[in-house]
């Protein structure tokens, strides 16, 4: 189920602006990797490059190679939609589809990709909602609109929606930044369970969260505004937080910078 992600010289542009510069990063299967760093350092850009969502924006493009189990997803003959089914993404703000019910939201990825069988959809919905720890809260109102749930529930709904298509890798772009501490805890616990099945890459501004949930941590930074973001240090989370090799990392972790 889980796959290895390896970035080699990944450089991303917004028009002529270089947002990240030759990132090399190797993410092992069934681990949680946290990307930390100051705002504007390219963490989210890198994350969006991993499932080829970066190129959706006008003028945005990516150079370099990104392999998932040795298959370059930026090869010319690769089907973008297949890449995105394999690499799911949870966004900063919960974004359930407002016209769909809870049930339809969870199985949206299946339904919109042609799965019709009711029994298959029902099983998939229940399984995904159970893995997202949301089943007990919504099982009696699956027909109600997804937008009617609380923020934390909506975010878990979005996680359920993502894992319902059974991806290999799950990307999370600050999934808890819009949530209260209790919902955050629920989602962090969820990440612990999910990493048995998926490779997880999470962007977070919350360093305690990075320390709590991740096995490996990558620190991104920029020299000054307008410069591209670079990968400064990438190591085991323990090492990054207790004994970083780079001075910049230590400054950031201890709050002296950024």
């Amino acid at each position: 189920m889980a796959k290895r992600v390896e970035a080699t010289g990944v450089t991303a542009y917004y028009g002529s602006f270089k947002a990240i510069d030759s990132i090399n990063l190797r993410v092992e299967p069934k681990t949680v990797t946290a990307l930390i760093g100051p705002s504007g350092c390219g963490k989210s850009t890198f994350l969006r490059a991993v499932n080829r969502l970066h190129e959706v924006l006008p003028g945005a493009r990516v150079e370099g190679s990104l392999t998932v189990d040795d298959e370059n997803i930026y090869d010319k003959d690769v089907d973008v939609t297949a890449v995105r089914r394999m690499i799911g993404m949870v966004f900063q703000r919960p974004n359930p589809f407002p016209t769909m019910s809870i049930f339809d939201n969870v199985v949206a990825g299946l339904k919109l990709n042609g799965v019709r069988r009711k029994s298959v959809l029902q099983d998939a919905a229940e399984k995904a909602l159970r893995s997202a720890n949301l089943w007990d809260e919504v099982k009696d109102r699956l027909g109600k609109p997804g937008a009617g749930l609380s923020g934390g529930q909506q975010q878990r709904l979005c996680i359920a929606r993502t894992i319902a298509v059974e991806p290999q890798v799950v990307l999370m772009d600050e999934p808890c930044s819009a949530l209260d501490p209790i919902s955050t805890l629920a989602i962090e616990e969820l990440m612990f369970q999910l990493k048995d099945l998926y490779t997880i890459i999470i962007v977070t501004h919350n360093m305690q969260q990075a320390a709590r949930v991740s096995d490996r941590t990558a620190f991104f930074s920029i020299e000054k505004t307008g410069d591209p973001g670079r990968l400064i240090e990438y190591d085991n989370t323990q090492k990054i937080f207790n004994n970083p090799s780079e001075q910049k990392t230590e400054d950031y972790i201890t709050g002296r910078f950024g």
Partner: protein, 358 residues
Amino acid sequence: MTAPAQTAPGRDPGLRGRRTPLLVLVGVAVVAFGVSAAICYGTGFGNWVLVLVMGLILYLVGSFFAINRYEGRRAARDRTWGALIHSAFVLALLPLVSVVWTLISKGTERLDLNFFSTSMNNIGARDPDGGAVHAIIGTLEQVAIAAAITVPLGVLAAVYIVEYGRGRFTLAIRFFVDVMTGIPSIVAGLFVLAFWVLIVTPWFNNGQPAFSGFAAALALSVLMLPTIVRSTEEMLRLVPAPLREGAYALGVPKWKTIVRVVIPTALPGIITGIMLSIARAAGETAPVLLVAGGSDAVNINPFENNQTSLSLFVFQQAGDASRFAPARAWTAALTLVALVLILTIAAKLLAGRNRLRR
């Protein structure tokens, strides 16, 4: 003018401000309208409308000072502006109420079964009967055909502009859509007359130009298209980008994201835009007169021979010499408004049904 409620520093005014006694405001109102009436009837200049308007202005000025005296300047400004805005609302509503009232009071005279079951065929100037069934059929057919042409075209054009369009070509489309918005209806009618009726129809009609309801629908399409494109475009732009990205991230292809996520989210707004354009088209007279010619008899076939429409019927009856004609014109106008209202409500209900309830 000092305001006692604005207290000196150090004196606690309390959280609850003082209220102006109701009696004071009533007193101000009585004085205001009394003075206004005295001026008007005293000088013999103006009637009750002037009394009302002048009284209202005097009351606003008077109440401002009264409230200022009791509650302070901020409260006085707040309440005076509030009153001004409410007055503006009433003022804006007056024409609407007046139109509806006129339509209903004058339109009910011929609001009978006969009106909806007969045409003007073989109705002479001295005949009190006669109806608009031919005009109702004409309006419904022409608007339906125009909608069938413009709704798919307009929505697809808007989808192209918002979701796919890049660069000069899109800018050109948007520019020409804006230009189309400004086309007067008579010009749209002349365009269809010159192009369709005089050049195209002779090929099908043994060399003779032919009026038809379809030609009217074409002219109405020219008028409806820009409205639909622009309103749909605005609605599609309102759909948040994270929604599209959420669908992309599930591996949903772009076209399916548009069809299943973007358009359903924007649907209520799109329908409103379509209904506005239909309402405008249903009220157009000039193009129908130019290219469908008008007719007194029922013509169900929109592709052959003359047709009329409700607005053209109103125009012709209003100018008719028969003393029974004005009543028919009023009833037809009422019917037209009711028809558009029913269509709008039906469309809203249909769009609302898509919303989740259960």
